[in-house]
């Protein structure tokens, strides 16, 4: 059968996109089970363990429950915007996966501006959260959305600066040549992975710390979950959502840690690099899993911050650290680079040796400046409930 070119191209593209999107959604479903089990473990309880071995079929039960629930739209709501918001929140998560290399030759799109694409596309989720909150016509949803927008645009700044620090370490762009090589810029993700002879986590740990903190704020999980602070706001911007729309919001929210881990692995942990008996794809998945677990650990450990603490942390803390990192890395590169603009492995090690002490000192200094000292923490005031118990007895 002789297919026309555009049809063959379209079918191939559709098939690949279908596989990748379904893989992402399935792994998100599995991840909800993992997160709940692991959180249970962290909090000394069991977590979902009834349906299937170790409760593995729990996501299936959740999906069936969410789909069969009534899908209500409040009278006050702006109907089209209310309906579109969950889809818009899910969209950037799936788009990011399209440009990430899972192996040297396995990726959906080899985009020359990969990392810029990721930064741009993820900023769409801010709009989705705002639309969801505004269109609900509910004060709590509105407050959650306002906090969300303020927080997300604040944390985009240190995140972009941390990425800029990483991009300085990537070698210069390779121009196109006559043999059909299309040329590759240093913004392309495959180029970033390729240049990590030493993982960038080792070379610039400060950028890693800033990026991880900013990214966990971007996906708005504890300690940064002011967007849906249950104790104050009902459940924030998706208070009015139910049924399948709520399910799509939850899907996007649970996909965020996976996508964030994929980006962190690509930028800082050498992406698909590994040693030879194990294939690159397996290395990639292993690294992603480790990062997911670390992010979950952070989530399980810290309590929620207040909104003013969150904003102060972004502008007074992470912003300064990111600029310091950019300055230090740029200075080092100015002195260490070879004549064609690349960095030898030896100079990368040297940079690591300089950057680790710089990181430790700057983080400790920042903690002293921003945090309470150990001695002058405010006395915890007894809860009003304590008196009630005393009186009852």
């Amino acid at each position: 059968m002789d297919l026309p070119e555009w049809l063959a191209f379209g079918m191939a593209g559709f098939t690949l996109a279908f596989i990748v999107i379904n893989a992402m959604i399935m792994s998100t479903a599995l991840y909800t089970w993992f997160e709940r089990r692991a959180l249970g473990r962290f909090q000394v309880r069991l977590g979902p363990n009834r349906w299937g071995p170790f409760g593995l079929l729990q996501p299936l039960a959740d999906i069936i429950k969410l789909i069969t629930k009534e899908d209500t739209i409040p009278d006050e709501a702006d109907r089209p915007a209310f309906t579109v918001a969950p889809v818009v929140l899910l969209l950037p998560m799936l788009l990011v996966v399209a440009v990430v290399p899972f192996g040297e030759d396995s990726f959906l799109g080899r985009l020359n501006v990969g990392i810029l694409f990721i930064v741009g596309v993820t900023s769409i989720s801010t709009i989705a959260i705002f639309v969801g909150g505004w269109a609900s016509g509910n004060k709590y949803a509105m407050l959650g959305a306002m906090r969300g927008v303020a927080m997300l645009i604040s944390y985009e700044v240190p995140m972009a600066l941390a990425i800029a620090g990483v991009l300085l370490l990537v070698g210069p762009a390779l121009p196109a040549d006559a043999e059909g090589f299309a040329g590759i810029s240093s913004l392309a993700l495959s180029k970033i992975v390729e240049s990590q002879v030493l993982p960038f986590l080792l070379v610039s740990p400060l950028a890693f710390l800033v990026f991880v903190a900013a990214a966990s704020a971007e996906m708005s999980r504890t300690p940064f979950d002011q967007i849906e602070a249950e104790s104050e706001l009902g459940s924030g911007y998706h208070t009015e959502y139910s049924g399948i729309k709520f399910a799509v919001f939850q899907l996007a929210e649970f996909m965020a840690p996976i996508v964030t881990s994929i980006i962190i692995v690509t930028l800082f942990l050498g992406g698909t690099r590994g040693f030879s008996p194990v294939p690159e794809q397996i290395w990639f998945i292993l690294k992603v899993f480790v990062v997911i677990f670390l992010l979950l650990w952070v989530r399980a450990t810290w309590p929620r911050l207040r909104i003013d603490q969150i904003m102060a942390f972004a502008w007074k803390g992470l912003f300064g650290l990111a600029i310091l990192n950019l300055f230090v890395v740029a200075t080092e590169i100015e002195f260490l680079r070879t004549s064609d603009g690349t960095l030898s492995t030896g100079s990368l090690w040297l940079m690591a040796a300089i950057n680790w002490p710089v990181t430790l000192v700057s983080v400790v200094v920042l903690a002293r400046l921003l945090g309470h000292g150990r001695m002058d923490r405010p006395e915890p005031s007894p809860s009003p409930l304590a008196n009630m118990y005393a009186e009852a007895e």
Partner: protein
């Protein structure tokens, strides 16, 4: 890359182009016609995204990514913030008597824009390469620019025109400081 050559490849591009162009123009009209400020902001976002799509079709990936990053990610969010602070969101624009002069001006501007875009002798890639006026080295360079715009844009932006680039940043910084000075108490 020229549009509408009649081959199957460009048929696909043509379809995409028309979808993007129509949605961009329709949502741009909806921005100015919409009574609800929030809806208008949403249509503006759609219009921005469609323009980014046009940049992709023109092989300007860098511009497309920057368009999404700055216009969709930053400017639209700022507009949404302004919507949050506005009391009368669903009131529509206040009426005024300048509809006729503005209409004439718009028609004139449209006519000039169409005349310029039709009349200009555009430097198209294919015609330049096939005209034989450029040496093969230069031709390779031009093809390289088309396949990978990022290094070229970077070189122009932060080497050749770095002064203009930095002056623009200083202008933005000055406006931020000015805004802060305006809202400062005391």
């Amino acid at each position: 890359m020229t549009l509408g050559q009649g081959t199957e490849d460009s048929l696909f591009i043509d379809v995409v182009f028309w979808v993007i162009a129509v949605s961009s123009i329709v949502s741009a009209i909806a921005v100015v016609q919409s009574k609800d400020l929030f809806r208008a902001a949403m249509f503006l976002v759609i219009s921005f995204v469609a323009v980014a799509g046009l940049f992709v079709l023109l092989r300007a990936e860098f511009l497309a990514a920057v368009q999404v990053l700055i216009y969709v990610g930053a400017i639209s969010v700022l507009i949404l913030f302004a919507v949050l602070m506005t009391r009368d969101v669903e009131g529509g624009s206040p009426s005024n008597r300048q509809v006729v002069p503005i209409g004439i001006l718009a028609v004139l501007f449209g006519a000039v824009a169409i005349f310029v875009s039709v009349d200009t002798d555009w430097n198209l890639l294919e015609t330049t390469l096939s005209s034989g006026t450029v040496t093969p080295d230069v031709a390779d360079g031009i093809t390289g620019v088309f396949s990978n715009t990022v290094p070229v844009v970077a070189k122009l932006l932060i080497r050749d025109f770095v002064l203009a680039f930095e002056v623009a940043s200083v202008l933005l910084l000055a406006s931020i400081i000015g805004a802060l000075a305006l809202v400062r108490e005391g």
